[in-house]
Symmetry: C2
Subunit: 587 residues, 2 copies
Amino acid sequence: MRNTFILCALLALGSYSFAQQPERFPLGEYQELADPKPHDSDEAWDQLSVPTRLSWGSTDIRYTKHDIPDVKISDRWRGKAWRGERVNAQAVLWTRTGIEDASIEVSELRRGSSVIPASAVSAHFVRYVMTDELNKDRKGGCGVRENKAEWDSSLVADVLDIVKIRDIQARSTQPIWLRVQVPRDAEPGRYKGTLTVTGKSADPMRLRFEVEVLQRTLPEAKDWAFHLDLWQNPYAVARYYQVPLWSEAHFEAMRPIMRMLADAGQRSITASIMHKPWAGQTQDHFDSMVTRIKKIDGTWRYDYAVFDKWVEFMMNEIGIDDIISCYTMIPWALTFDYYDEATNRVQFINTKPGEAAYADYWGSFLKDFARHLRQKGWFEKTSISMDERPMEAMREAIKVIKQADPEFKISLAGNYHPEIQEDLYYLSIPYGHQFPADVKKAREAKGQISTVYTCCAEAFPNTFTFSAPAEAAWTVLHAVAGGYDGYLRWAVNSWTIDPLRDSRFRTWAAGDTYSIYPGPRSSIRFERLMEGLQDCEKIHQLRSELKGGKLEKLNRTVAKFTPEGLAETQQSASEMVDELHRLLNSF
Amino acid sequence: MRNTFILCALLALGSYSFAQQPERFPLGEYQELADPKPHDSDEAWDQLSVPTRLSWGSTDIRYTKHDIPDVKISDRWRGKAWRGERVNAQAVLWTRTGIEDASIEVSELRRGSSVIPASAVSAHFVRYVMTDELNKDRKGGCGVRENKAEWDSSLVADVLDIVKIRDIQARSTQPIWLRVQVPRDAEPGRYKGTLTVTGKSADPMRLRFEVEVLQRTLPEAKDWAFHLDLWQNPYAVARYYQVPLWSEAHFEAMRPIMRMLADAGQRSITASIMHKPWAGQTQDHFDSMVTRIKKIDGTWRYDYAVFDKWVEFMMNEIGIDDIISCYTMIPWALTFDYYDEATNRVQFINTKPGEAAYADYWGSFLKDFARHLRQKGWFEKTSISMDERPMEAMREAIKVIKQADPEFKISLAGNYHPEIQEDLYYLSIPYGHQFPADVKKAREAKGQISTVYTCCAEAFPNTFTFSAPAEAAWTVLHAVAGGYDGYLRWAVNSWTIDPLRDSRFRTWAAGDTYSIYPGPRSSIRFERLMEGLQDCEKIHQLRSELKGGKLEKLNRTVAKFTPEGLAETQQSASEMVDELHRLLNSF
């Protein structure tokens, strides 16, 4: 069986690379990769008496593409929402005969004369992307995966397409994602609408849905208590959209992507202050947003045109303006770029924290950078950011920063080190690690931010393309349960070479590097993350309001979202998230 | 026989590359490559009754390294010189037994109480460098020579070493070059000196020499009428000396090299205003001396720190300040560099004269460049320079230059084109081509410079390392005879990878790319060129002074230095140069 899988995966790869020659970097309609997995036979499909069926399903399930879904037929979905909340539902369609030119129509939602307009409702064909699996020891998804055939590949439902009309193949399943953005000023009450699927030679099929708008109002994302930090990759956007870096077209492409982040409560702007801060670990490496020129007399000259344009865009057009995270002073490869006037080339210095050349390179820059940031009024928002590096190197780097300007904010995503934690305005530590209670309290008192991160290391919870959808919500709910200020993830749009079709990458389990797709297209993962983030804010609201037994009940339910809670419970992540969700809507 | 040569050449190469592992880029003592040629046998050498002999020889001869020289023994050399002239003589030593720690001593020159000090006299061991040969059709030395084995290689005497003590191998010939710089204020008359060779266990050997200082005075090189233009390559110096480009150490290394050029009457500073103006045809490609930044808003920013430092060095420290030749607007590969702020990379535009992108790239630059040059007071000295390119391209480039600033000087090394010659302040045309008499006159009247150039194309005259030494003088005398204002050669120090040992290059006949060696070391070629240049100035002086029969005789002798004169005469180049030389010292 294993061999068959590998063979199929190879065939899928092969047909993709050589035979089909699909459009590079599609933004509109595109063809999915071939399904490398065994699935329901033609005979099984052909036994279906009704050619095409449509039913409500669950947002917890990634329906497989070529299997008849195991679904309890239902034509009515009911949900609850706070005012200002975004709610999701998933329908599933399966067809023996296929549907040409299928499209989905959603009505406005009505409650007597009150209306949630159709523009607040959207429906998406859920599309299939190639994924792989956890490491063989099931302990996570880290490590190199150059040889894709070593990993079991499969097609999974994840992408929420923006293409509105498409052919649905015979003998296939087509999930449909429904999203309702409840207006903040909606009158509470029960709103009803319909979702209709039509096709060229198919009778329209209808599903009903209801959203019960509750009394409570969710604040705007920018006012949420939760500190969200998903690292943006502008370089991936320029490459995929084939537009010149930092051109108007580039910003136009980035605008809706970055707005998705703002809508999720994103706090930080990811800025790179050197070439390849992470040794080019993503398909599209980050480059320096700072122009750094070494003059022939050995002095440095800096220019911030790129940095300024990016930061101003994020602040003024997108509304993300809390922190400018500047990566990094301790890259994984200790080589530092500059344009060398003498040779008319970008050159690299090899040096490391503690050395004179390092102090010269960074000290000179940081002094000028501080001057520039103060001039722009951004100094207080800017943080010189590092990833986990050896303790001694971090200490030396901190020394250089403080020498350049003692008021510089410094941040780290890495292990908790008591020796340097005080110096770190923003410190994100790995899943499973804790801040000592007194330290966390002291950090709060000083206005320092203390969050948790996940990456390839976690088998659970994660947002790989094969992870259970509810894990996305679980992850951020864990941040609240664990007493952290928020959550950090190192990538949200570091796309693979062909991200719509293939989420597998040369390193790490598939999907690790992005949850927003080109288009932009949201994903099951991103929407479930968004649900979790909304629930985090609901918890925040309710904790300041509830008292006694209700508060205790809330806290008890929240407390399950920890490694300890997880070890005790018999519930699945989906059940836990669902339970909490219902509880939050019950007060 | 041919096969033996190739085998020997391969062995020489082999031993050089793999076995010996010689020092890279030596500046002091170094070992020559093995001699790939058959030569006098050990038996022949062993028949010599006197173990070591020393005699005056001729500067016209490259004595072979392992042959007993065919020389009429003479212990006294007599030369004549104008005051201020530099004169050369060559002695030759050959030894059956070898000499350990050989050194040469030269005395001051005395004439009663008058003295030419020893500091004005120098003696050099002549060293052997690997050369090849003309093309198989004997028509020149152009074309690719990647496979060295296809060309007959030999060791030739050319380098005038600066190392003063060295071991002379048994059974070998060691030429010695004597150079006397007659002070401009020397009293006329006959000066006598001695050259002494000593060694560890050898009796000192002495040669006498006399220089008759004549009444006439040669002006300083910077005042010579002849327009000399040997293109400098600063990039080769930085690589060979292993010093950072444009550092103090780099200028220190260049100083004595560029002074050699100034002493020869060099007029032009070779400046590169783009990356690889000649598509990297030399071992060390030229890069842009201009920093050219494309901002993210599409505007250009320029910086001239490198250009200014180089030009100021040449003008103020070296004294070469007539023309700043800026290469080029029409490179051989039509790709134009800039540092791109957006991508933090040096990028390239592919465009060509006549296109909008070309006009933008150059028009914008030239306007700013003109502003900068005027500010520095250099505008009148600067020439935007091109090599031969298709007529239409040159016309379009000239249009762009004139649009940027109609007063820009323009120069070309290429064929004579009546359509554009008027636009060319400085025009150098190939050997064998003539300016129409009326055009030459009109150009003179306008102060335009009209010279001749040679390159790989000439089998004769040339300065390949295997060319007859007198050809170097012949070449520049030809410029005077042909009625040109001077002479251009495209390279004087574009060194091969191992220039002291191997003058062969991946293209063109050996020695084409340089006549000054690292150290710097002069060469037989450079000294004979210098003699020719001195003679050119003597002709210039005498022509304004002599009348009647003497002037006619001078002009008749000069006129031989043309392709026509050459076709008529029975004399060799050496004889022609010698005859003219004697004539110039006879008036």
